[in-house]
């Protein structure tokens, strides 16, 4: 199988996340909590030439249809992303990501003194504000490089 074929190979059922900013594909998987242990077939194309973005990443998840609320959180690192739901090799649904009001359990708070970093039985929770996200516990605002804060 040629490299080209691998990159564009279609999936039968699942989700294709397209138009991800180049270099963010692994962060997309991290945000979605997909690390391979679920047994899902995952393929990634990185730095694929794109008219719209120059270079884009593409993430294909075989065997799982991601819900809108699951993918909306991607808008924080991949605002241009499009979500294609695939059934029997056909795109049955195509959506853009929209900014959620709140992001739960995805980001960790950069404030070391925040109670969410103290082994308490809570998920982190951030409110999405004008130009970043804000910790519901300590109010710390993360503005840039959100991807650096993925994973709790």
């Amino acid at each position: 199988m040629s490299e080209h074929e691998l990159r564009v190979s279609k999936i039968r059922n699942g989700t294709v996340i397209d138009h991800v900013e180049g270099g963010q594909a692994l962060n997309v998987l991290a945000i979605l909590g997909i690390d391979g242990s679920e047994g899902l077939g995952v393929s990634i194309g990185m730095n694929v030439p794109s008219d719209r973005l120059g270079r884009k990443d593409v993430v294909k998840v075989e065997g799982r249809e991601l819900s809108q609320s699951e993918v909306d959180v991607l808008s924080l690192i991949a605002p241009e992303a499009t979500i294609n739901i695939i059934r029997d090799f056909e795109v049955v649904e195509k959506n853009r990501v929209t900014r959620p009001n709140r992001v739960t359990g995805v980001l960790s708070c950069p404030n070391r003194n925040c109670i969410t970093n103290a082994d308490e039985p809570v998920e982190t929770s951030f409110e999405v504000v004008a130009d970043g996200v804000r910790c519901d516990y300590c109010s710390t605002i993360i503005r840039d490089h959100l991807a650096d804060h993925i994973g709790v």
């Binding site: 404030n111 003194n113 109670i115 300590c138 109010s139 710390t140």
Partner: protein, 310 residues
């Protein structure tokens, strides 16, 4: 106050604040009327870091409305030392008490605690976060001197880590108040607090020199700059020295300027200020009792005792 907890000052509306302060005024005028109001109620004082002052103030307030208090003793001897989570600790204590007062070294601790219990939680300081009951007594003190509208206030010192400052600034946005923040560059208000002030459209300015604004001020709120905030001791002495006031400094202030401080002070307000008409910090500390009586009375509800809103 139509809420079950007091976690941040940001949650307080003008009506909430005025309701507590009105009641505090009533309490101060006739404390005896409140003496048995909450007989049988138990208030848990959960102090995960030492604060004799705030703890004693809540303890006194509780007892003066007839409630009993329990506390966890020092953190050293408690189950916290054994690694118990805060979420577990408050869920256990909830079974013993009708309300919980929480002081904790981590930001967001009170928010978390409130998620796990049904009894009211009062945030008595969470790290460098908030200290809203202090704000209520600060506002009471300001209100008795100047009212809370058409007011110019200067807040000086450690604005970055000062939780009393964060709460006060947020609460003041409910009123027609011009806020001036005076601090070294390294200790300016944190981004999150500036964000909130900006959102409310508050009239806010930041300065590095007190002289720039002192003549305009009705209230000067001074906070301590702590040595730990500076990497080296010389730097601390140089910077902290610029934010120290004495009776001479206040010559340039208005005649009825009120000087406040959440206490304890070290040397940021010289002792010679105590004798001036400006000094209000001891009264401010004393106001903690009637204001916390009013707050606890509100949070514990009117089930027992007499009807207030007749």
């Amino acid at each position: 106050m139509r809420q079950d907890h007091l976690i941040t000052a940001t949650q307080l509306s003008r009506d909430d604040i005025e309701a507590v302060l009105d009641r505090a005024r009533e309490v101060a005028a006739d404390p005896a009327a409140y003496m048995d109001r909450h007989a049988g109620a138990v208030l848990a004082l959960c102090f995960f870091e030492p604060s004799t002052r705030t703890k004693m103030s809540f303890d006194t307030a509780a007892k003066r409305i007839g409630a009993d208090t329990i506390d966890m003793g020092g953190v050293e001897s408690s189950s916290v030392k054994k690694g118990e989570s805060l979420a577990d600790t408050v869920r256990v204590i909830e079974g013993y008490a009708d309300a919980i007062v929480l002081r904790h070294p981590s930001e967001g601790a009170a928010t978390l605690a409130a998620e796990f219990v049904d009894v009211p939680v009062v945030n008595a300081g969470d790290g460098a976060g908030q200290h809203p009951s202090q704000t209520l007594l600060d506002l009471h003190t300001i209100r008795e001197d100047h009212g809370l509208d058409d007011l110019t206030i200067g807040i000086m010192g450690d604005l970055k880590y000062g939780r009393t400052v964060h709460s006060l600034a947020a609460a003041l946005t409910n009123f027609d108040v011009r806020q001036h923040f005076i601090s070294p560059e390294s200790l300016r208000l944190p981004r999150s607090v500036r964000f909130d002030l900006h959102e409310t459209g508050a009239q806010v300015r930041e300065h590095t020199d007190l002289e720039e604004v002192l003549p305009e001020l009705d209230v000067l709120y001074v906070t301590r700059i702590q040595k730990e905030r500076f990497p080296d001791e010389n730097e601390y002495h140089r910077v902290a020295g610029e934010y120290r006031i004495d009776a001479d400094t206040l010559e340039d202030g208005k005649e009825d300027l009120t000087v406040m401080h959440p206490l304890p002070r070290v040397d940021e307000i010289a002792a010679d200020v105590d004798a001036t008409d400006h000094a209000r910090y001891f009264e401010q500390a004393h106001n903690g009792v009637p204001v916390r009586m009013a707050l606890l009375d509100t949070l514990l509800g009117d089930d027992e005792g007499t009807e207030v809103d007749r």
